[in-house]
């Protein structure tokens, strides 16, 4: 099965756009979080697509390695982010990000 590169990039762009819109319009912290994960994975998809199309056989793993890094960092980020959300929920009894505006100038 040989999917053309453009299809993959288009899917990646759509996923990224959905992520951006999710971050900008939703107020639920969990959903924002998921949107961020969506953007990260759209980037992962683009990496894999480019690696498969352009890289010579000897260097084909470079794109995969980078993806693994992103996944690892995202996992760490999730751990920190979920912890923050738990703390926010405990103090505010809500995970609406607009409630957390005490840094207003």
């Amino acid at each position: 099965m040989n999917v053309p590169l453009n299809y993959l990039l288009a899917l990646s762009g759509v996923l990224f756009a959905i992520g951006v819109v999710g971050v900008l319009v939703r107020r639920n912290a969990i959903v924002i979080f998921m949107s961020i994960e969506l953007m990260l994975n759209s980037a992962n998809l683009a990496f894999i697509a480019f690696a498969r199309s352009f890289a010579p056989a000897a260097e084909a793993l470079r794109g995969h390695v980078l993806v693994f890094f992103v996944i690892a960092v995202a996992a760490a980020e999730v751990a920190v982010g979920l912890a923050l959300i738990v703390v926010i929920f405990r103090t505010k009894k809500s995970i609406d990000v607009d409630q957390v505006s005490s840094l207003k100038g």
């Binding site: 951006v20 971050v23 900008l24 107020r27 607009d98 505006s101 207003k104 100038g105």
Partner: protein
């Protein structure tokens, strides 16, 4: 110092710098060791330093016999600026050698005399510590005088010129705490110094003019220039010579600056003999003789020199007639004799002038030292009386001739040498003064009748006042207890007197008519003419001298003064005698027309201009008030408004900007995310489309 190089000449000339080095060495030894040693050591060091300088002078004389045109001995470079240079080099020629021999010779004798004299002087005046200081000053004087006479350029001569002036000042004020009101001697020293400064000013201006005209201060170059371009530059040479004459009138005590010399008698007697009779005061004469090439160009200056000399000779001689202080008579006599020498250089008789300078050095030093011997004798007598019985507390002046009389039998040696000196000074043949004075008169007859008349009358007065002095001091009966007990002085004092007396007797042999040895000698350095012996002139001056002495005998000898009797001349001359006695009120006139206006001007400048105008008005009022106003404005106007305004404005600007900018911080995390997203879009579009 011996590393000197000679411009053409034999090796004997190379030791010439020692003539300055020995006196300096002597004074250094006394300066370092003098205080810890005794009088004998100090005296011997000082005298042998000068004695060695005399030996050096003799060697230079011997060297000059083989090479009479003289040499220039280069010692060191002194000032060198581009092509202008003033080296430190000695001019050894027949003229300077004459001065060297005379100065060191007479100085040696006076140094030896001073060992004896100062021993008693410091005892009577009560400060033995000053014995060393006296000899240090004395050696310093000889060193400075040697620099003056051996100078090869005007600047070096000026160094010596100032040096001797300084020593003169130091030694006049040697007993600075004595004299009228306890400061009389210090005032006399100051007067001498200030008067000399006026002359020095003339010398300096002359030097500036010479530098401006010639561009060099070397004697040889200046004289060569005067010789070549003299006629074209007569104006500037006249100015130079007139300023040089001003310098000479200061140093050689001529009208109008002679007033310091009589007061200079405040110094110890050896000082009067050495500095204020024999050597320093002849510096002006020597300077003018040295500058013959310049004076020869300017007819006007030469005749003015002659007139000033002649007038001074007569004027001072009249004052000497009515003085009672034994040293004052000699002081005015010195001024008068210097007038003779100055007149001689003025009429172009340089040789006659130098001749009289040398013989005068002998007999005037002799007279002063003998006068010192007389004063010491009187002081001894006075001292003796005070010790014995009644404490005579009334002020007693050992210099006053009215307190003397009849010393002939008590002080035999002193009397005889004094008589020889007086006869030599009066111009009685065959003593030294006769030949030298006669040569001046013989030249004056040919050159300038007015000067001759002035000098001839002055010579008459000279013989008269010397006759008067001898008769008052040595003849008749003693007019005070002190004079009755005055003893003769020890040989340390009388032996130098005898040697000087010998010089005063035979000094005329230097330039006997027909032989002209001095004329031939000086001829190698200056333009000279042989003065013919004029029998008529000689007869007239001898006649005048004898007449004057006879007159003096008629008045003072036939019927000697008795104790407390007034001078018989006072009765006969009336107001003229009062005038002569009061020195024609010249000091008072100077006081009225120069010193008092000067002090008034100084007081005006100090009180009104400096204190009231500058200090009170300008500083305290103008400056202080404008400062106060300025600071007031700065503090209230500038500081409060401009500086504070700037700082406060900056503060409120920051505050205002912050108040507006804080609105950007909404605290909504989605706003930040949107801003981030827009920013990324902008950057991406920049990369894509630009």
């Amino acid at each position: 110092m011996l590393s000197s190089e000679i411009v053409g000449g034999s090796g004997l000339f190379s030791i010439a710098p020692l003539i300055i080095a020995f006196p300096i060495l002597g004074l250094l030894i006394n300066l370092i060791f003098g205080r810890r040693s005794n009088e004998r050591f100090v005296g011997i060091v000082a005298s042998s330093a000068i004695g060695l300088a005399f030996v050096v002078a003799v060697t230079q004389f011997v060297a000059l016999l083989g090479q009479p045109e003289g040499v220039s001995v280069h010692v060191a470079d002194w000032i060198t600026i581009a092509d202008f240079s003033v080296p430190w080099s000695l001019k050894v020629d027949t003229l300077s050698a004459t001065m060297m021999l005379m100065v060191t010779g007479v100085s040696t004798l006076i140094h030896i005399y001073a060992i004896g004299y100062m021993h008693d002087d410091v005892r009577f005046q009560g400060d033995p510590g000053r014995f060393t200081r006296f000899f240090i000053f004395f050696n310093l004087f000889v060193a400075a005088m040697m620099i003056l006479v051996t100078a090869n350029n005007f600047l070096m001569m000026f160094v010596g010129w100032e040096g001797v002036g300084l020593c003169s000042y130091l030694l006049i004020g040697f007993w600075y705490e004595k004299g009228a009101d306890g400061i009389g001697n210090a005032v006399a020293g100051k007067k001498a110094f200030v008067t000399n400064r006026i002359g020095d000013f003339g010398f300096l201006i002359a030097m500036f003019l010479i530098f401006g005209a010639v561009g060099s201060l070397q004697f040889d170059e200046v004289f060569h220039w005067a010789h070549e371009h003299g006629l074209a530059n007569e104006g500037v040479i006249t100015a130079i010579t007139l300023f040089l004459l001003l310098g000479a009138t200061g140093k050689s005590a001529q009208i109008p600056l002679y007033v310091w010399l009589p007061d200079a008698m405040a110094g110890p007697t050896p000082v009067s003999a050495l500095i204020h009779a024999a050597t320093m005061v002849t510096a002006g004469i020597y300077m003018i003789a040295r500058n013959q090439a310049l004076f020869a160009v300017s007819e006007f200056s030469s005749s003015l020199v002659a007139i000033v000399g002649g007038a001074t000779a007569l004027f001072a001689a009249t004052i000497a007639v009515a003085q009672f202080d034994i040293k004052k008579v000699l002081a005015y006599s010195t001024i008068s004799q210097l007038g003779f020498m100055l007149a001689a250089v003025g009429i172009g008789a340089q040789v006659a002038s130098m001749f009289h300078l040398v013989t005068h050095a002998f007999f005037k030093a002799l007279l002063f030292l003998s006068a010192g011997s007389v004063i010491l004798g009187i002081e001894h007598g006075h001292h003796h009386l005070e010790h014995d019985s009644h404490g005579g507390d009334e002020p007693f002046d050992p210099n006053d001739m009215r307190n003397m009389g009849g010393l002939r039998s008590r002080m035999k040696t002193t009397f005889w040498v004094y008589l020889i000196g007086a006869l030599a000074l009066s111009g009685v043949p065959p003593f030294a003064g006769f030949f030298s004075k006669d040569e001046i008169l013989a030249d004056a007859v040919q050159e300038n009748t007015l000067v001759y008349i002035l000098l001839a009358v002055a010579a008459f007065f000279t013989a008269f006042y010397m006759g008067r002095q001898i008769l008052m001091v040595f003849f008749g009966a003693a007019r005070s207890e002190a004079a009755e007990h005055a003893p003769e002085n020890p040989p340390l004092i009388t032996i130098p007197l005898s040697l000087l007396a010998f010089g005063a007797v035979i000094g005329g042999a230097l330039n006997l008519p027909g032989l002209h040895s001095l004329t031939d000698w000086i001829e190698h350095t200056l333009h000279v003419h042989v003065s013919e012996f004029n029998l008529q002139v000689a007869a007239i001056s001898t006649g005048l001298a004898l007449l004057a002495i006879g007159l003096a005998w008629l008045i003072y000898g036939r019927k000697p003064l008795t104790r407390g009797q007034a001078d018989p001349l006072r009765k006969w001359l009336g107001p003229i005698f009062v005038g002569m006695e009061n020195k024609w009120w010249v000091d008072e006139i100077y006081n009225a027309i120069i010193i008092r206006p000067y002090i008034a001007l100084a007081a005006f400048l100090a009180d009104v201009v400096d204190w009231r105008f500058w200090h009170d008005w300008f500083h305290d009022t103008v400056l202080a008030r404008s400062f106060r106003l300025g600071t007031q404005w700065l503090s209230s106007g500038f500081d409060a408004h401009v500086i504070d305004g700037a700082v406060n404005g900056l503060g409120s600007l920051t505050k205002g900007a912050a108040a507006r900018l804080r609105l950007v911080q909404t605290g909504y995390v989605r706003n930040y995310a949107l801003a981030l997203f827009v920013g990324v879009l902008l950057i991406l579009s920049y990369f894509l489309f630009v």
